[in-house]
């Protein structure tokens, strides 16, 4: 299930690929790309209470060249659009995108008829792998998003799934 978003490489062994995907999934280096309110919740997730480092994702790299995941946390507007696409290009393959918050998913509270400046959804710019709804989403939701991305990369879910109601 997680194969289609990891492009092919020169050497291809099934076992090696699963090992590589497992390593990639558990050491996702996000790029510090906090735009607005969701950035504060991302920082809270990086804090010691919600502790994103349990999933190997606490190394927030400022430079796109050293990051695997671009967590778009906030609103992308027309003036920032080219910068976002440039940053996305500058990330080395394999790369993934988490659209955090309603603004990144669909423009959120700014998707109105008077909207003249906000890009309604980051998936208009480049393919997005995981959507985390919320305005801003709670830190637990971001952790669930990281787990979902890991499941998407490796194909199986290592962490227990929280069943609603229990």
């Amino acid at each position: 299930m997680g194969e289609e978003n990891v492009p092919t490489s020169v050497v291809q062994f099934a076992q090696l690929d699963t090992l590589l995907n497992l390593c990639r999934a558990n050491s996702l280096w996000p790029m510090t790309f906090g735009l607005a309110c969701c950035a504060i919740e991302m920082m809270c997730t990086g804090g010691s209470r919600f502790d994103i480092s349990r999933f190997g994702a606490e190394v927030f790299r400022p430079s796109p060249r050293q990051s695997d995941v671009m967590i778009v946390a906030g609103t992308v507007n027309k003036k920032l659009e080219l910068a976002v696409r440039t940053l996305y290009d500058q990330m080395p393959e394999p790369k993934w995108v988490i659209a955090m918050g309603n603004c990144a998913i669909s423009g959120g509270p700014f998707k109105v008829k008077e909207n003249y400046n906000v890009i309604e959804g980051v998936d208009k710019l480049f393919p997005v792998d995981v959507y985390i709804p919320g305005c801003p989403p709670r830190p637990e939701a971001l952790l669930e998003g990281i787990m979902t991305l890991e499941e998407k990369i490796t194909g199986k879910r290592r962490w227990p799934r929280v069943q609603a109601g229990c």
């Binding site: 607005a36 309110c37 920082m43 003036k79 801003p136 709670r138």
Partner: protein, 372 residues
């Protein structure tokens, strides 16, 4: 006295301290003309997170704009709620019961402490220290839990209504707040001051860096901790009292030096003052309703209204023009950081890049509040 340096055009290069930069804490871009390490000219470029709040204010009714206020300065969202509620209550002449005023002051001051804690964490992150972030976030999570009990959200609060607040505080909130006050009072001298404020590296990095004179603050309209760090004793809660602030005795920390260290100390002392205010507000908390009588569809009389509120970054003003309809005719949001940042270009000239970043951190910028 250093003699002015004359630079030929081929001796400077342009550097983008761009939208995605760890030190700009958001999407502020500063176009720097550099001579090696020195900044020849700094020109902030705004608009990378402009989200049309003023257009949305004109599109929706008065009540529909309340959630927007929290998404401008999400670090001190309750003060923005308070400002918007105040200006509409002035325009429509709505009375707010006593208990609601006290609850507003308590929650706004708690939110101010949370905002200063996050500024402290981010400022030291800019200067290279990661550990203070963990301590500050530990305390900040305590405040967020308390406020989440009452308002229902962690960051973008929509807690105030025209005429009061929509949810009363219960005893567990009060005991939790008192416990938090004692805990933070215990930690402030040990962790925040001994470990960080008296740290020689921090003092070397921010002492005598980014000097802002009182006259510069007045000409650029800088308010809040930036003005109080340059010796101007201006705090909207004292100079233009609103809500029930006159009933609490707290003093305004003012430091005359005007450098980044002064602004740092102003904010650290403001945390202690906010604790005092919360304690007094909890002691004098009256009973009674928390929601006054307010018409369902507000149609305030035509005219020009203004309300000023003291947020963690300065004096926030709502300039409201009503034409008697159910939508605001025009709302101008006077954001404090917009004016505080406008003096960056003049002060950062001739500074080292590392010092300019320390100076920008001491201005405590929240970019969506600048771009609105």
């Amino acid at each position: 006295m250093n003699v002015p340096v004359h630079l030929r055009p081929d001796e400077t290069f342009v550097l983008n301290l761009g939208p995605q930069h760890p030190a700009t804490h958001g999407v502020l871009r500063v176009k720097l003309t550099m001579d090696g390490e020195y900044i020849v000219q700094a020109e902030p470029v705004l608009g990378y997170i402009h989200r049309m709040h003023e257009k949305l204010a004109e599109a929706g009714t008065f009540a529909q704009f309340m959630p927007n206020t929290a998404r401008m300065d999400y670090l001190h969202a309750l003060a923005f709620n308070h400002g918007w509620a105040l200006v509409v209550e002035k325009a429509a002449g709505i009375e707010v019961p006593e208990r609601a005023e006290y609850i507003r002051v308590i929650t706004v001051e708690l939110n101010r402490i949370a905002s200063h804690l996050l500024w402290w964490a981010a400022f030291l992150l800019d200067l290279g220290g990661f550990t203070p972030l963990l301590y500050a976030f530990d305390d900040r999570e305590q405040i967020i839990d308390l406020l989440e009990r009452v308002t229902g959200s962690r960051l973008t609060y929509c807690y105030m209504r025209f005429g009061g607040v929509y949810n009363d505080i219960d005893d567990e909130f009060i005991t939790g707040t008192r416990a938090f006050i004692q805990r933070l009072r215990g930690r402030l001298p040990r962790i925040y001051h001994d470990l960080v404020t008296h740290n020689i590296i921090l003092i070397k990095r921010i002492k005598d860096i980014g000097f802002v004179s009182a006259e510069q603050c007045r000409r650029y309209g800088a308010t809040g901790p930036v003005a109080r760090g340059s010796g101007i004793s201006y705090d909207v809660r004292k100079n233009e009292p609103y809500s029930v602030y006159p009933e609490f005795d707290f003093d305004i920390p003012v430091f005359p030096e005007g450098d980044s260290m002064a602004r740092y100390m102003v904010r650290m002392h403001e945390i202690e003052q906010s604790l005092r205010i919360i304690e007094q507000a909890l002691d004098k908390l009256p009973g009674g309703p928390v929601m006054g009588k307010a018409p369902k569809m507000l149609k305030p009389e035509a005219g020009y209204y203004y309300s000023a509120v003291e947020t963690a970054r300065g004096s926030l003003g709502h300039r409201l023009v009503c034409d008697g309809g159910k939508n605001p005719y025009k709302l101008k949001l006077r954001s404090p950081t917009f004016s505080n940042l406008s003096l960056f270009g003049e002060v950062a000239e001739g500074m080292l890049l590392a010092d300019a970043l320390a100076f920008m951190g001491s201005l405590d910028l929240v970019i969506p509040e600048i771009d609105r």
